[in-house]
Symmetry: C2
Subunit: 201 residues, 2 copies
DNA sequence: GGTTTACACTAGCGCTTGCTTGGTTGATCT
DNA sequence: AGATCAACCAAGCAAGCGCTAGTGTAAACC
């Protein structure tokens, strides 16, 4: 029973679990269903994970880690202007929501099923991610790009972005890039100043 | 076993069920927990509802009906300008999210637990509500109050509003009215005059 | 060559689940 | 006074749940 390791087998199992958790919900997904999806018997599952809770925690941790590193990377590789940084964050957020969709849906919908210990550990990760966002929002406010209350603006933006998992169609014409652009345009109209940016759309 | 009636007792039970579903989630709420909360034995529960699914459907229907009638009422009692109508809708949405919070949280989080029949029936109700929203968004776009893609703007706005159930504190200083005002200000800044909009599109 | 390790299996324990059954109560109607 | 009816209860069934115990096996390591 190896609890904390990160074997490639365990990672693959985590991926499959995420898929099932999205399809059925955590509570309705039985260890027998998980095992079958993984091609093993239900007993064998507990060699890889201490209990069912740990599978949930593994799924959410995986998704959050990816989101965090993708966001950091996006901020490093973009320009310095508040608009560019805001756009980069929105785009990174939507891209991880797309590529790691299952994990993120689980994180959004099944967070409350985590036990106290796992929730405590994972909320630190999530806080780190949200701090990144608040910094970028602050910059946008200072630059006069967006107006309003710091707390409310960041909540509204996170809501608009996270809500996409409910309606976004990966097969459709719209790319994460497009959504990010449209969102930034909606809350920070390009009509004022910065003549260099009036080319898009 | 009266299935479709609307006795006051049933309404009260529905309210209690909504509270439990929010606290524990639908799957983890057992019929025994529901019965205890209602002050009856688990067997008696099935006199009021055909099965557990029907309780869930009743909770969601109640919430959606209230949201719909509140929104219609708000649109009747507000001014004609696109801004006023947008603000009225946002405010009505947030107010029903506050007063019927439990029912709406259940609708948002447990929708997928509905069986096909209930989901079909309730999605018509929800569509009626979303149609109201899209009309108001359309008016805002035509009036030049907001810019962007019709579909995306309405999805972003709905996301920002619905996300509030995750962080809004009814005991806090902010009223639904304030949130609505701030949201409208964010996506439709008041700085520009209505006449000065001739340059766009 | 012997021991360890990783991974899988079978079998089932103890418990909870949604729901059913058969029956009782007290108020209301005829 | 008898019938009706909504509302409730005690008891329990069949199925399914998470998880454990004990064992087998093939590759890796000393």
């Amino acid at each position: 029973m190896n609890a904390v390791n990160e074997s490639p087998r365990r990672k693959e199992l985590t991926r499959l679990a995420a898929q099932l958790f999205v399809q059925e919900g955590f509570d309705r997904t039985t260890v027998r269903m998980l095992a079958q999806e993984m091609g093993i018997k239900s007993g064998s599952l507990f060699h890889h994970f201490r209990d069912k809770q740990e599978i949930l925690a593994a799924v959410i941790e995986e998704g959050t880690q990816n989101a965090l590193s993708l966001a950091r990377q996006a901020l490093e590789n973009c320009g310095d202007s508040a608009r560019e940084r805001l756009h980069a964050m929105a785009r990174a957020h939507l891209e991880t929501l797309l590529t790691d969709r299952n994990a993120h849906v689980v994180a959004l919908y099944e967070w409350r099923r985590l036990d106290a210990a796992a929730r405590d550990h994972l909320s630190h990760l999530r806080d780190a991610y949200e701090t990144l966002w608040e910094q970028v929002i602050d910059e946008a406010l200072e630059a006069g790009l967006v107006h309003g209350d710091r707390f409310l603006v960041s909540r509204f933006v996170m809501g608009a972005l996270n809500w996409t998992v409910r309606w976004y169609d990966p097969e459709g014409a719209r790319k994460p890039e497009d959504l990010a652009h449209e969102l930034v345009a909606m809350i920070a109209p390009a009509t004022q100043r910065t003549a260099a940016e009036s080319t898009k759309v």
